[in-house]
Symmetry: C2
Subunit: 174 residues, 2 copies
DNA sequence: AGAGTCCGTTCCGAAAAGGAACTGAAAAGT
DNA sequence: ACTTTTCAGTTCCTTTTCGGAACGGACTCT
């Protein structure tokens, strides 16, 4: 994982991966979301090496995803809490959970259920269109080059693909 | 990334990470979703080392996320296509994209836009409740221990947290 | 005083990644 | 016919990262 190359890419997925693109980081964020906010507790829970945990937490603070909140002074000790930016990653985690529930759960069923407090039902998280609110199927969304698009490392071929598609779509319109 | 420890965990997120828990795999899946389905094209596009790409593609086929589809015979050559299991990972990618768009995009705006063909609008993907269809806020969902839950590696502390919360909720009901 | 908690850092051997070169089979150029 | 190019890997070697155990420091508890 070339640390630098990812956030250089003109791609929101790559830039997200620059923050959470390894095996441990999402699990650390999961623990914190569950209210396990201290170094030792996370380390015990995950069985992660203290060294790597220390590095990951530092990077997450660096990225503005977590913040250190002091809970005692004598030896300075902190809880790690999500910032708004960090809390917003929950949807990524929930999407992973939904996929894992569907494709990797044991016969018993999923280990964790979610209740939607507003409607009271046990639920799962599904993707919806921000505009019409309808549930989204993958086949219903088409990618287009956006205002921030530039051909560069990590998307040269994608640029070509999109150009071809958009040209075809324009031709079809005429 | 301890290959084995992750899929051993009683957690859908961990088991998902066992499949896509590194920096390259999601980008490879993104490329394939865009229709870049051949070894060399992916390699060129991402600048990933051929060795790692080869390993990742093999693992994804192994996991049943991708399948090799022959497109010529003499030297056997394949396109990599998503299976249903693989296509279903698109929502994880879209969640990453949505987060990246919001928190890491440049001033120009996001590099890629999505059009929802059903309603015609430029959109972004938001989480919704599968039951009531309402848009979900993270604070509206409560995790509960599910049928497949077992205390074990990776969730001992979580088990304790949930137990406490569920006990508190039960007490509040009475 | 001695053990326990908490959060790290340090050191070392093992594993993984990066990178360039090499193989192999066939099509395409000259 | 011969060389170059395309395509998909594999191999080898160097650099980075990881895992694991030990150590440190600042305190609290018994």
């Amino acid at each position: 994982m070339a640390r630098s190359s990812l956030d250089q890419m003109n791609c929101s997925i790559a830039r997200t991966l620059d923050v959470i693109g390894d095996a441990w980081t999402p699990l650390i964020l999961r623990d914190i979301a569950f209210g396990i906010t201290r170094f030792d507790a996370i380390q015990r829970n995950l069985g992660i090496s203290r060294k790597v945990l220390s590095e990951r937490l530092g990077a997450l603070v660096e990225h503005g995803v977590l913040q250190r909140v002091p809970y005692q002074d004598k030896p300075a000790r902190y809880d790690y809490h999500p910032t708004e930016k960090g809390a917003d990653l929950a949807f990524v985690l929930l999407a992973m959970q939904a996929w894992g529930d569907r494709w990797t759960a044991s016969d018993d069923g999923p280990p964790i259920l979610l209740r939607h407090e507003t409607c009271g039902a046990l639920t799962k998280v599904v993707p919806a269109c921000a505009s019409c609110g309808e549930r989204l199927a993958v086949t219903d969304v088409t990618p287009l080059r956006g205002p921030g698009f530039e051909t560069g490392p990590g998307n040269a071929e994608i640029s070509a693909v999109l150009e071809r598609r958009e040209a075809a779509a324009t031709a079809a319109d005429a």
